[in-house]
């Protein structure tokens, strides 16, 4: 190994030995260190408890839509629905919202706590502080209404109270249906109607 007198040449000579060795080491270990472990992200899945869902066959956020014989669209949506344990073609649902759009462009919207939709007898019964709103400006509260699914008919046999466009109104019962001879859709209050108008 030649001896050099000045520092520079010695430095270069040592570098010629160490630098290749360092590069060799670097290259060798390059593939040894993995790029950080593959962290396994947890698979996103709903935290709904599966057993009760399966057991009750519950549906969340269902909507039910139908077109009646006279061309009105009835749409019922609910927060949750489950088939009636005793009778399979009856569906009970809660936080119900229903909308009946009549062919003459008027509409009736209803909100209720719960509903029982009975397929075969084609009736949807809404109960639990029912609110009915019509495009003619009537806002009615009652505790039970029955909506017929195959023809546009909404009936509330129990007392109804609420707001008419011109004042507050109360009646023994109420029905929204198509008047057969005139073909118009009428909202009819029955059994002693009382309207109070403040001029």
């Amino acid at each position: 190994m030649a001896h050099f007198d000045n520092f520079h040449s010695r430095l270069v000579a040592r570098a010629k030995i160490f630098l290749p060795l360092a590069s060799l080491a670097l290259l060798a270990t390059l593939f040894l260190f993995a790029r950080g472990g593959e962290t396994t992200y947890d698979i996103p899945y709903a935290r709904v408890d599966i057993e009760s869902l399966a057991r009750e066959q519950r549906i969340d956020g269902p909507t039910f839509a139908t077109v009646t014989d006279d061309g009105a669209e009835l749409e019922i949506s609910a927060g949750r629905a489950r088939p009636d344990p005793s009778n399979k073609n009856v569906v009970n649902s809660t936080q119900v919202r229903a909308e009946l759009r009549l062919p003459d462009k008027s509409a009736v919207s209803m909100i209720a706590n719960d509903a029982v939709i009975d397929g075969p007898s084609r009736i949807a019964e809404l109960s639990g502080n029912v609110r009915v709103q019509t495009t003619t400006g009537y806002a009615i509260e009652t505790d039970y209404i029955a909506a017929t699914l195959n023809l546009s008919k909404i009936e509330s046999p129990s007392t109804v109270t609420g707001q008419a466009p011109s004042g507050n109104i109360s009646a023994g019962s109420m029905e929204i249906s198509k008047n057969e001879d005139s073909g118009e859709y009428l909202l009819v209050f029955k059994n002693r109607v009382k309207l109070i108008y403040q001029p």
């Binding site: 009549l102 003459d104 400006g137 466009p165 118009e184 909202l187 209050f189 002693r192 108008y197 001029p199």
Partner: protein
């Protein structure tokens, strides 16, 4: 010819709430037309107007205001001691007038007046009866 009649005498306050009761109220969903039917009774203060059907006429620009009530079929209009019967009556709430037509019969105590039509101005408490006016006075009553 016509006759001027003081009617009701007592001042009628037309800002009192109007209460309409009947057997049935049907509202046409497309036009919003509201018709009371089945012994309809309109009450406001001392005023009573009963008929078989009453149609509600809303204000032209404001659908929450009722401008007229058109009563038809055996109308009886009572205000204070007097009563008027007719076939038809239009109670204009905003103008506080009642226009009765069709064999109007006004009975005031024992006296009776009949004619074809009558306009009652509720604010002044006066009425004007027109068309073949006949008066039937019961002498010796007062």
């Amino acid at each position: 010819q016509g006759a001027e009649v003081t009617f009701g005498g007592l001042k009628h306050d037309s800002s009192l709430p109007v209460e309409i009761t009947s057997d049935q109220l049907s509202v046409d969903q497309s036009t919003g037309k509201a018709i009371f039917s089945g012994d309809v009774l309109i009450g406001q203060g001392a005023l009573r107007l009963s008929a078989t059907t009453v149609e509600v006429i809303y204000g032209a620009n404001d659908a929450t205001k009722i401008s007229k009530l058109i009563a038809t079929g055996g109308v009886t209009f009572v205000n204070g001691g007097e009563a008027i019967e007719s076939q038809r009556a239009v109670y204009d709430i905003q103008a506080a007038t009642v226009a009765l037509s069709g064999d109007v019969i006004l009975t005031q105590g024992a006296n009776a007046l009949s004619g074809q039509s009558m306009i009652v101005d509720l604010k002044t408490g006066t009425g004007r009866i027109e068309g073949r006016v006949k008066t039937i006075l019961q002498p010796g009553q007062q």
